[in-house]
């Protein structure tokens, strides 16, 4: 039986997600036509809205059902979208979420600056909140951690010998912290119970790790049409991600030498892609990644045991499995 899709899981919070979409557009509107055009191009690009979904579900699972969850969902999504826009500049990705990326449409300058504009919007939404709101420090810490993770990752990009653990620590900063923040902020809207808040923190950390491992895997196996990105793009950019790190650890010394040559070559690795695909099959890399991601998904589900049984809590359970089974 295949797992339900994210839209099936989220059917019962459709009104909330529509409200988040509306507010996303409102909060990013600019008086300046061109700024508005560029920003809406990114916002309307859509995506799974995983962080808003996690935030709204976490809030509901902790008994909160008000509008502030929508506002905070907008903030986390904007932080995420801003980082995507900058990532795409850095990666020179031509396509994201099935649309042309900003920098390929309007050039690097506009893309860097639109990312900065979104950060400015986050700043203004956050400073409008109460000073004692814990969401503010959680989000500013997460934003900082994301940047630190990105800087370290950019710097370590050329390190062929990074371990699975070190890699997961870096992506825990880059991707995990904002996902975790989304869950915690949702929780805090509904409860003061530290046990519950910590449970949703653990849930977020584990879901974040599972999400990243699958994201990395999909770059190697996904159908470009469905996933909305170029496949093998990480490899093309000389990025060593989880599947390759695992494969490098388990393959023979001779294979490792060839892999390192492909990885360090200045040319596009097109000619090597068949060889790499065979290597990944030989070491059952896909199964290893799915297994590793499922361990995290199971850890996420266990953490939820601390929560009362609610539709939102059950949706969070399903989301943990969805993150592993998704094909885009």
């Amino acid at each position: 039986m295949s797992s339900p899709s994210i839209s099936e899981i989220c059917q019962f919070i459709k009104d909330d997600l529509d409200a988040v979409e509306k507010k996303l557009r409102e909060k990013t509107a600019s008086h300046y036509d061109f700024v508005d055009l560029a920003v809406q191009h990114v916002i309307e690009g859509g995506g799974k809205r995983l962080r808003p979904v996690l935030l709204v579900l976490s809030a509901k699972a902790c008994g909160y059902d008000g509008e502030d969850a929508h506002t905070l969902a907008v903030v986390v999504e904007l932080i995420h979208v801003a980082s995507l826009v900058h990532d795409d500049v850095l990666d020179e990705a031509p396509i994201r979420r099935k649309r042309e990326t900003l920098h390929s449409k309007w050039g690097n300058k506009v893309a860097v600056l639109v990312g900065d504009y979104l950060h400015a919007r986050v700043l203004s939404m956050l400073v409008a909140r109460h000073a004692d709101d814990p969401a503010m420090s959680i989000l500013s810490d997460a934003t900082q951690a994301m940047c630190e993770g990105e800087v370290i990752h950019a710097y370590k990009n050329g390190d062929f010998n990074i371990s699975q653990d070190d890699y997961l620590k870096i992506v825990g900063l880059k991707t995990g912290r904002l996902i975790t923040a989304s869950c915690m902020i949702g929780a805090i809207l509904g409860t003061k119970d530290e046990k519950i808040i910590q449970a949703l923190r653990e849930y977020g950390e584990a879901v974040g790790a599972a999400f990243q491992i699958i994201d990395d895997l999909l770059d190697f196996v996904a159908d470009q049409e469905k996933f909305g990105k170029q496949s093998f793009s990480d490899l093309r950019e000389g990025k060593l991600t989880f599947p390759m790190i695992y494969t490098r650890e388990v393959c023979t010394a001779e294979e490792r030498t060839t892999l390192e040559q492909v990885f360090n070559a200045d040319t596009e690795p097109d000619s090597a892609i068949e060889w790499i695909e065979a290597l990944l099959r030989r070491y059952r890399t896909q199964a290893h990644c799915l297994g590793a991601a499922q361990v995290y998904a199971d850890r996420a589900k266990s953490a939820l045991a601390a929560l009362p049984d609610t539709p939102a809590g059950r949706a969070l359970q399903q989301l943990a499995d969805y993150v592993v089974s998704r094909d885009w």
Copy 2:
């Protein structure tokens, strides 16, 4: 008689400026060695610290002499430095403040991300403040305006026919708003008198315009060794700035056609630089820019008439003239 230098003007607030430097380093420290190395490379690059100086002087001129001026001075300088780091990526500038720029030292990725890291630090410093602190909304508005100005400027970069007024509006967003915010925030620390706060707003706007006109001019006339940047770099990047916009408006139709060809050429304009230098001399462009900047400096000084006579107020007067007479 030559005007006093910025360090002569600021001699009596040296202790404050030292405290700002110390806090700048503290607030940008990262647990991660490489992040720290890259960030400190930018911070220690120095610069005039014009925004901290304006903030501290504005505070003192309004009767405030406490530490919060140092904290806010750090915030405005970080917003400024973050925008410089991103500008340098966009402009591909090899040198800034006489040092290698981050992106030429460590690549574009690190530079974009260090800028983002500095923004994250600003976010965390701002969310730690009282919610009713007007500095928060002034700064978040200024940050947004800077981005909007940058996006519009990046988009309008190819517009050969931009007017002096439209140009000054864009740079009013890009440069002026943060300078104005620095003055207003300083004022608000010391006074609730709207007349005084508005006087420092007008002062900031006028100083910002004078500063930008001279900045643009220095790119054409400055000695590279002294100014710390490549000269004619704006022109090389196809950027039309104030001196060229003025010259384009006053020159003959024939000269305008040649100028447009140089401006639109894909090649470096080295061969055309002598011709442009002659054109600038013919139309006394330097004198026009100095005159235009002095009009703003005089407007800034007039605005200060609303303030009581204090050493800080007199230093603000001198700074307005310094902005026009500076040669770097």
